[in-house]
């Protein structure tokens, strides 16, 4: 729980010595509560106070990292229940299962199928981030062998899934350099599994069938000297999983209940690909740090990954596209030239409707700091000057022979000034871009 200025004040020397640069200890305490200064600025603070303050300032949900280098992933450290309150920080990691019953070519094929689940959306790479190797065989040897194969394929972070400490020890021995996530320690295996995790420097999943049991289990694991823990609550059905993930999140963030102050992992491995999409997206929205899937269908992964991207977007920062001239289809020197703003939502709506028109066109994207047409216009980020500058900067004169510029219908009022500033003829486009196909097909031609 965050300490108030008064709570902090009680822990300070109360000498008002001014060595920290503040006039009084109380002022220093207030500044500390607002995170405007650091505790180290007080030279006389006691060890006891340091410990208490450090504990209180630890994030309510721990960050857990696994994998190495390029395939390293991090989860947790979330601070809010709703994205509009601030933002969600570490995007849900999607992992896909590989069974250790597979061997030889079948194993390689499955690993490759998972590795291939990579896509690009609005210029950003998204994809499956981990392989969850499952000890279906029950054999420690097979598990270790398959683990080595996954490690050698190298593309993604590794999650080792087994209930058996022997199998876990065998697989970790082959893969510890790649820092796998060990799944899982149960109340029965907690000590053995924690020992393996500790000796090899790996994070561990704590798995239990109730919130109470899970809280006890993490305390037990913590007592073994491990802090990088991921929570897995076993439930009978999706409904209980979702209700309890919400409850655990609230316990961690609102009550700062430390035994549950860790990220979570959920398994969505039954049902067809469509069912997995539905379950996974609900878990992505409602607080799973990792979702383990069984499907390797691209059509299923793409929407899940897009959901991760959208939900974890910072609501304070509009997503922007790069200001430049975009070519839709194969435009030539007689093709229409129109402009819009660099707010991604605005741009992609325009792009989609221009594509639908099947009229090859140029879209000039004016930098309006990620605001929509009307917002940019009222904030003076979209005016005849910004439009003229963008036209010069991106060389539109060289792209088309004609001198006709299509402008958004909402800013028809800019027509005269744009004509003056650019010497181009202005054509006022539709207000709603769903009318663009008709406009381009009928008015332009």
């Amino acid at each position: 729980m965050a300490l108030t200025g008064l709570d902090i004040f009680k822990l300070l020397p109360k000498t008002n010595c001014k060595k920290c640069g503040m006039p009084t200890c109380l002022a220093f305490a207030m500044a500390l509560a607002q995170k405007r200064t650091k505790l180290e600025d007080c030279p006389d603070v006691s060890e006891e106070a340091k410990e208490k303050l450090a504990a209180a300032s630890a994030p309510p949900m721990r960050k857990v990292v696994f994998g190495t280098q390029d395939n390293q992933v991090q989860i947790g450290q979330e601070t809010v229940m709703f994205r509009h309150e601030e933002k969600f920080y570490n995007p849900t990691v999607l992992a896909v299962t590989v069974s250790d019953k597979l061997t030889g070519k079948d194993l390689t094929k499955r690993i490759e199928a998972v590795n291939a689940l990579q896509f690009e959306r609005i210029g950003i790479k998204i994809g499956a981030r981990a392989i969850a190797l499952v000890n279906d065989s029950g054999s420690p040897e097979s598990f270790a062998q398959a683990a080595a194969a996954v490690k050698d394929s190298g593309d993604l972070a590794l999650i080792l899934v087994t209930q058996s400490p022997d199998a876990m020890a065998a697989a970790v021995a082959k893969t510890k350099e790649s820092v796998p996530l060990l799944a899982s320690a149960t109340p029965d295996t907690a000590e053995k599994m924690a020992k393996i995790a500790k000796e090899n420097g790996c994070p561990i999943v704590a798995k239990a069938d109730s919130i109470d049991a899970l809280a006890d289990l993490t305390e037990k694991i913590k007592a073994e000297g491990l802090e990088d823990i991921v929570l897995n609550l076993q439930t009978q059905n999706l409904r209980d999983q979702l209700l309890n993930l919400s409850k655990m999140r609230a316990l961690a963030l609102k009550k700062v209940f430390r035994p549950l102050g860790y990220p979570t992992i959920s398994f969505v491995t039954d049902g067809d690909a469509d069912t997995q999409v539905a379950s996974a997206i609900s878990l992505i929205c409602k607080y799973a740090g990792i979702v383990v899937l069984d499907t390797v269908e691209a059509y299923a992964l793409l929407p899940m990954l897009t959901a991760v991207m959208n939900i974890f977007t910072d609501p304070q920062k509009p997503v922007q596209v790069e200001p430049k001239v975009y070519r839709i289809g194969e435009p030539n020197e007689n093709s229409p030239m129109m402009f819009t703003t660099n707010f991604s939502l605005t741009y992609y709506t325009v792009e989609s409707d221009v594509e639908a028109s099947r009229v090859p066109s140029y879209i000039l994207v004016v930098d309006t700091e990620g605001t929509s047409v009307l917002t940019a216009y009222s904030g003076d980020k979209l005016n005849e000057k910004t439009v003229a500058d963008a036209m010069t900067k991106y060389g539109v004169e060289d792209l088309v022979k004609h001198r006709k510029l299509i402008i958004p219908g909402y800013v028809a009022v800019m027509s005269g000034k744009i004509e003056e500033a650019t010497n181009w003829e202005v054509m006022v486009g539709p207000r709603e871009c769903s009318m663009l196909p008709k406009f381009l097909q009928e008015v332009w031609n």
Binding site: H84, S246, V277, A278, S282, A298, P303, N310
Partner: protein, 318 residues
């Protein structure tokens, strides 16, 4: 270590309303649909706080769609010219809870069909199915003002959900919807302040707040869904904390928006999987995502997506 109690309790709730009038109620519907009633955030509180199950309204267009991708046309290929048969198929084969008649064909830029056509379609669909109806205009103010009051009259007393009314165009439809005993959809362009404003405007005209459903505008997955998502979450919290002007159930338009997405309709994208799977899955994903933010009625199109989403709703809202 004892786990502390964390469930939050709220004073307010989402309005509960029942669409459709049966014979006893002066209509001809054979079933009704009750929505709303949530007393907590999604997955917050106890089972009793969850409210009514979310429902699916399947779209039936008044005129044959001109721009639907093949994957979406396929299930309806024999009924596209007959809204009555189309509606019947949605209810009997695909389990639609409601039918949303979308009057695209009256738009001046599309088929520019007249009120007589729209009335005929309304009557046909009312006759063909017994579920409650949603009656949704074309979005062109002038034409909606000419046609939708007639549509309202044709379904008088059936307790339909009719819309949409916007900040700039609400008077004629609001007035007629009161007179004909319907429920009203207020429509805001992804702006929570305008959403509240339009509810106030409708209320000032004497439209009862407990008969309004709000439409915040919908963004498809990958195309601004996060805006709709957060507005819906904020609306739910406003309702729970006692804001009567924001306590309405929510409708969203997943069918239209998700099938506009490149990922749903592009045929030539081998790295994304078969378009026959991709389109329905994009629609499913959009619906599921919005359900997490609190939605009461979802407009949908493809039967495969409808089946997956219904299955999800039944699993989670037991």
């Amino acid at each position: 270590m004892p786990v502390p109690e964390v469930a939050e309790r709220f004073t307010g709730s989402v309005n509960r309303l029942t669409l459709g009038a049966t014979k006893d109620d002066g209509g001809t519907r054979t079933s009704t649909v009750t929505v709303g009633g949530a007393r907590n955030v999604v997955y917050g509180g106890s089972a009793a706080d969850t409210g009514e199950k979310a429902v699916i309204a399947m779209d039936v267009l008044d005129s044959k769609p001109e721009d639907w991708p093949d994957v979406l046309l396929e299930p309806y290929k024999n009924v596209l010219d007959s809204p009555g048969d189309w509606a019947k198929m949605c209810v009997e084969e695909f389990g639609a809870d409601l039918i949303c008649v979308k009057f695209d064909g009256i738009h001046p830029d599309k088929n520019d069909k007249d009120a007589a056509h729209a009335v005929k379609v309304t009557e046909e669909v009312l006759k063909a199915v017994g579920v409650p109806l949603v009656l949704w205009g074309c979005g062109y103010d002038e034409k909606d003002n000419q046609v939708m009051p007639k549509v309202s009259g044709a379904a008088k007393g059936e307790k339909c959900l009719i819309g949409t009314v916007t900040e700039d165009n609400y008077k004629s439809l609001t007035a007629i919807a009161v007179a004909d005993g319907h429920y009203l959809i207020t429509h805001a362009p992804l702006d929570i302040n305008i959403a509240k404003q339009i509810n106030i405007l409708a209320s000032d005209m004497g439209f009862p707040l407990e008969r309004i459903v709000t439409f915040q505008a919908t963004g498809a997955l990958g195309y601004g869904i996060e805006y709709a998502y957060s507005i819906q979450e904020r609306q739910r919290i406003a309702a729970l904390t006692g804001d009567k002007m924001m306590a309405m159930p929510v409708i969203c338009d997943v069918g239209y928006e998700s099938w506009r997405a490149k990922e749903a309709k592009l045929t030539d994208a081998p790295g994304w999987g078969d378009p026959a799977d991709r389109g329905p899955t994009w629609e499913t994903a959009t619906a599921i995502c919005l359900l997490q933010a609190g939605v009461d009625i979802i407009r949908m199109r493809h039967p495969r997506a409808v089946a997956t989403v219904k299955n999800f709703i039944n699993k989670v809202w037991t």
